[in-house]
C-alpha cells in the first residue's frame, strides 16, 4: 500500500462507521525528539487516527502564540531537520496511524524539494501540509509529492471564494484541510457561524474528506462538526501542555504531562468516534 492511500483508508474507515477522524497536532522537538516520539505513541494509544507533526520554523506567520512558543523552545535547543527525521523514523513503524508533516515551504525549499520529500517518506510520513504554499503555487510540488506516493494536503480558508477553492481542489489529495477561522492557530471558544456553510459548499465541490482545524479544542466543538466534516484537527490545546516541561522535565513530571495529554486527547477521540 502506498503511504498516500493510508490516509484515504483512515478516513474511509471512520466514514463507514459514521465517525469523525481525529488528528492531533504536536510540535516536534519540544522539549526533545525522545519526548516527541513518546507523544506520538501516547496519542496513537489515546485514539488518534492520524498524527500531524509540526516542523519548528523561525517565522511561522500562520501560528498563534502557543505553537510559536513551542517552535521557539525547540529551535533554541538547536533542533535540526535531521534530528526530526531520525526521531520520527524511530517511532513511525511502531504506530499504525499515518503521520503527516506540517512544514513551512521555507524549510522545504532550502533543503531541496525532492530531497525533502524523499527524506520525509523514508522517515515514514504519509503526507505533507505546507501552510505557506498556496494552491496556485503548488502544482509542481504536488506532482513531485505524488511521484513519491505521498499526499500533499491543500488548505481552504473562510476567506477563500468558491472559484478559488475549485482551483485549489484540483491539486488536492488525501483530505482537505478546512481552516475554521480567519486568523492564526489557537484555541477559540466558539466555532465561526459561517463554517457550516463553507463545509457544505466544499462538500459539493469535492469527494475528498474534509478535516477542520484552527481553533478546535473541546469535545462540544467536535460534536457540532458531526455530519458536516470528516475529521477534526486539534493543535494548540495539546501543545500548550508541553510548556510546563520547559521548567521541569524530571521523569515524574514528564509522566504527569504525558498523562494529561493522553486524557485530553482521549476525550477528543471519544467525541470524534461517537457514532452519529
Amino acid at each position: 500500500m502506498t503511504q498516500a492511500s493510508r490516509i484515504a483508508q483512515v478516513f474511509a474507515q471512520r466514514a463507514q462507521q459514521r465517525q469523525l477522524a481525529f488528528m492531533p497536532f504536536i510540535a516536534a522537538g519540544d522539549p526533545d525528539m525522545t519526548t516527541t516520539g513518546r507523544l506520538i505513541q501516547e496519542l496513537a494509544k489515546a485514539g488518534a487516527d492520524l498524527i500531524e507533526v509540526g516542523f519548528p520554523y523561525s517565522d511561522p506567520i500562520a501560528d498563534g502564540p502557543v505553537i510559536q512558543s513551542s517552535y521557539t523552545r525547540a529551535l533554541n535547543k538547536h533542533l535540526k531537520l535531521k534530528d526530526i527525521f531520525s526521531g520520527v523514523t524511530a517511532v513511525s513503524s511502531s504506530v499504525s496511524c499515518p503521520l503527516v508533516a506540517m512544514v513551512s515551504y521555507s524549510i522545504i525549499f532550502r533543503t531541496g524539494t525532492e530531497s525533502f520529500v524523499m527524506q520525509a517518506r523514508e522517515a515514514g510520513f504519509a503526507g505533507l501540509i505546507v501552510p505557506d504554499l498556496p494552491g496556485d503555487e503548488a502544482a509542481e510540488f504536488a506532482a513531485l509529492v505524488a511521484r513519491h506516493e505521498m499526499d500533499l494536503i491543500q488548505l481552504v480558508a473562510p476567506t477563500t471564494p468558491v472559484d478559488r477553492a475549485a482551483r485549489i481542489l484540483k491539486n488536492a489529495t488525501g483530505f482537505v484541510y478546512c481552516i475554521a477561522v480567519a486568523g492564526t492557530t489557537g484555541a477559540r471558544a466558539e466555532l465561526a457561524p459561517q463554517l457550516a456553510d463553507m463545509l457544505k459548499s466544499l462538500r459539493n465541490q469535492t469527494s475528498l474528506p474534509l478535516a477542520v482545524g484552527f481553533g478546535i479544542s473541546s469535545p462540544e466543538q467536535v460534536d457540532q462538526l458531526r455530519g458536516l466534516a470528516d475529521g477534526v484537527i486539534v493543535g494548540s490545546a495539546i501543545v500548550r501542555h508541553l510548556e510546563a516541561l520547559a521548567s521541569d522535565s524530571t521523569p515524574a513530571h514528564m509522566d504527569a504531562v504525558m498523562k494529561q495529554i493522553a486524557e485530553y486527547a482521549g476525550s477528543i477521540a471519544r467525541a470524534a468516534h461517537a457514532a452519529r
Partner: protein
C-alpha cells in the same frame, strides 16, 4: 545553488502577473491571505489607471509631503573627496523626514478606495510607522503599528510621534524583537482582520503585489532625480547610490534608471560589525535563495531554512531578507551590492553634519559613506547621485550613546 553568471539583461517591465521578478517574488503565504492579495492586485491596477486617483495622489505629494524635494550639490564633501561631484536626493526634507511617506500616502488612498476601515503596519526604525500614522491621521483611519521591543528602545522619539498622531504602537516581544518579528505580527493580525483591514507594508518585501506597489509609489524618487539631473547637469548621472535594508528607497531610486544602461546602480547593505553570521545584515552579499515573509528572494538563513539573526547599527537596515526585485537586479548584474560597516556609517553622520549642515539618518549614512569612497575613485567630470533617504533626528539618542556623549 546559482552560479554567478548573469541571466538575461534586467528590464524595468517586471513583475509579471504572478508577481515574478525573473525567478524571484511570487506569493508564499497562508491561504487565508490569498484572496485579499488578489483583490489588492486588481484594485491597485484599477487605481493606477484612474486619473482621479493619480490626481489626488499627486496633489497630496505636492501639498502634504512637500514634493518635489531638491537634488542638492554636496559641494564641500565633493571638494574634499577631490573626485566625482556628489549630489543628494533630499528625501529627508519630506514631511515626516524620510522617503517612507511616499508609499504610505499612496497605500492610505488605496485603503479608502477599497473601502477598508482599519490600517496595520510594521516598523523597524519607526519611520514607516510614523509615515503610516501620519497618513492615517490625515485620512481619519484607525492605525495599529507593530514594532519590535528592541526597536522601541532604540527609537523612542518615533514611538512618541506615532502615539501623538493617534496610532496604537504594539510592542513585539517574539524572536529577535526587531523588524522581522514586527512583520510576522502584522501578518498574524492581518490573518484575522483581513476583511476590514489593509496592511500598509513599508518595504518592497512580502507577497505580490506589495513589492510592486511599494516600488511604484517610491519611484517618484528616481523619476524626480532623473529629471533634476537632466535639468541641472544636462545629462544622466554616472552612478546612483542608495542603502538597502528591505530596499524601498533604493528600489524607488533605481527603478526609473534600470533601462538607462549607462548609469551604474549601487545598493549599500548594512555591513554591521563584521562578516560573521549574526554580525551584519548583508543579505545580498552573504544570503542564499529562500522564502521569507511570503516571497522568494535572497535570505540570511541557516542550512535548514531557519532565518538567522542579523545586526545593524541602524534599525531600518536590520532585516535578514531583501525585496525580490533586488535579488533580480543582483542576479542579472544590473545593480552592484556592497556593504558599509557600522562605524563607517556612524562617522559619516558626523562628517555630513559638519561639512554640509545636514544630519542624515544612520541608514542613509551607509549610502553616503560608500559614495564618498567611490567619488575618490572617479574623475571630477563624473557625477554620483545618492539617495539621502531620511534625516537623522530619530538617531540622536543612539548616536550620542555610541559616541560616548550625553544628550
Amino acid at each position: 545553488m546559482s552560479n554567478a553568471q548573469p541571466q538575461s539583461r534586467a528590464t524595468s517591465q517586471v513583475p509579471d502577473a504572478e508577481g515574478r521578478f525573473g525567478e524571484f517574488g511570487r506569493r508564499f503565504v497562508p491561504e487565508t491571505l490569498m484572496h485579499a492579495l488578489e483583490e489588492l492586485t486588481v484594485e491597485y491596477q484599477r487605481a493606477m489607471q484612474d486619473p482621479e486617483f493619480n490626481r489626488r495622489l499627486n496633489e497630496m505629494l505636492r501639498t502634504f509631503v512637500g514634493r518635489p524635494n531638491p537634488l542638492y550639490f554636496a559641494e564641500r564633501l565633493s571638494e574634499e573627496c577631490g573626485g566625482a561631484r556628489i549630489f543628494f536626493k533630499r528625501e529627508d526634507l519630506n514631511h515626516t523626514g524620510a522617503h517612507k511617506i511616499n508609499n504610505t500616502i499612496g497605500q492610505a488612498l488605496l485603503t479608502l478606495r477599497m473601502g477598508k476601515t482599519r490600517v496595520i503596519a510594521e516598523t523597524g526604525a519607526g519611520q514607516h510607522g510614523v509615515a503610516t500614522a501620519t497618513a492615517c491621521a490625515r485620512f481619519g483611519l484607525p492605525c495599529v503599528v507593530y514594532m519590535g521591543e528592541e526597536d522601541i528602545r532604540r527609537q523612542k522619539l518615533n514611538v512618541f510621534i506615532m502615539k501623538t498622531m493617534g496610532a496604537e504602537v504594539r510592542p513585539v516581544t517574539s524572536g529577535s524583537r526587531t523588524l522581522r518579528d514586527a512583520i510576522n505580527e502584522a501578518m498574524r493580525d492581518w490573518m484575522a482582520s483581513v476583511e476590514n483591514t489593509h496592511y500598509i507594508l513599508g518595504s518592497v518585501v512580502g507577497p505580490h503585489p506589495f513589492p510592486m506597489i511599494v516600488r511604484d509609489f517610491q519611484s517618484v524618487i528616481g523619476r524626480e532625480a532623473r529629471q533634476q539631473c537632466l535639468e541641472t547637469i544636462g545629462r544622466l548621472p554616472d552612478e546612483v547610490v542608495a542603502c538597502v535594508g528591505g530596499g524601498s528607497n533604493s528600489a524607488g531610486m533605481f527603478h526609473p534608471f534600470v533601462d538607462d544602461v549607462g548609469v551604474e546602480l549601487t545598493g549599500v547593505e548594512a555591513g554591521g560589525r563584521g562578516d560573521k553570521a549574526g554580525d551584519h545584515a548583508s543579505t545580498l552579499s552573504f544570503g542564499t535563495k529562500g522564502v521569507l515573509h511570503g516571497s522568494y528572494s535572497y535570505v540570511l538563513q541557516d542550512e535548514d531554512g531557519q532565518t538567522m539573526d542579523v545586526h545593524s547599527i541602524s534599525a531600518g537596515l536590520d532585516y535578514p531578507g531583501v525585496g525580490p526585485e533586488h535579488s533580480y537586479w543582483h542576479d542579472t548584474g544590473r545593480v552592484k551590492y556592497v556593504k558599509i560597516r557600522d562605524n563607517q556609517a556612524l562617522e559619516t553622520v558626523g562628517k555630513v553634519a559638519r561639512m554640509e549642515g545636514i544630519l542624515p539618518a544612520l541608514e542613509s549614512s551607509h549610502a553616503i559613506a560608500y559614495a564618498l569612497e567611490q567619488a575618490k575613485r572617479r574623475s571630477p567630470d563624473e557625477v554620483i547621485v545618492v539617495c539621502l533617504s531620511g534625516r537623522g533626528d530619530k538617531d540622536v539618542n543612539e548616536v550620542a550613546q555610541l559616541t560616548g556623549r550625553v544628550l
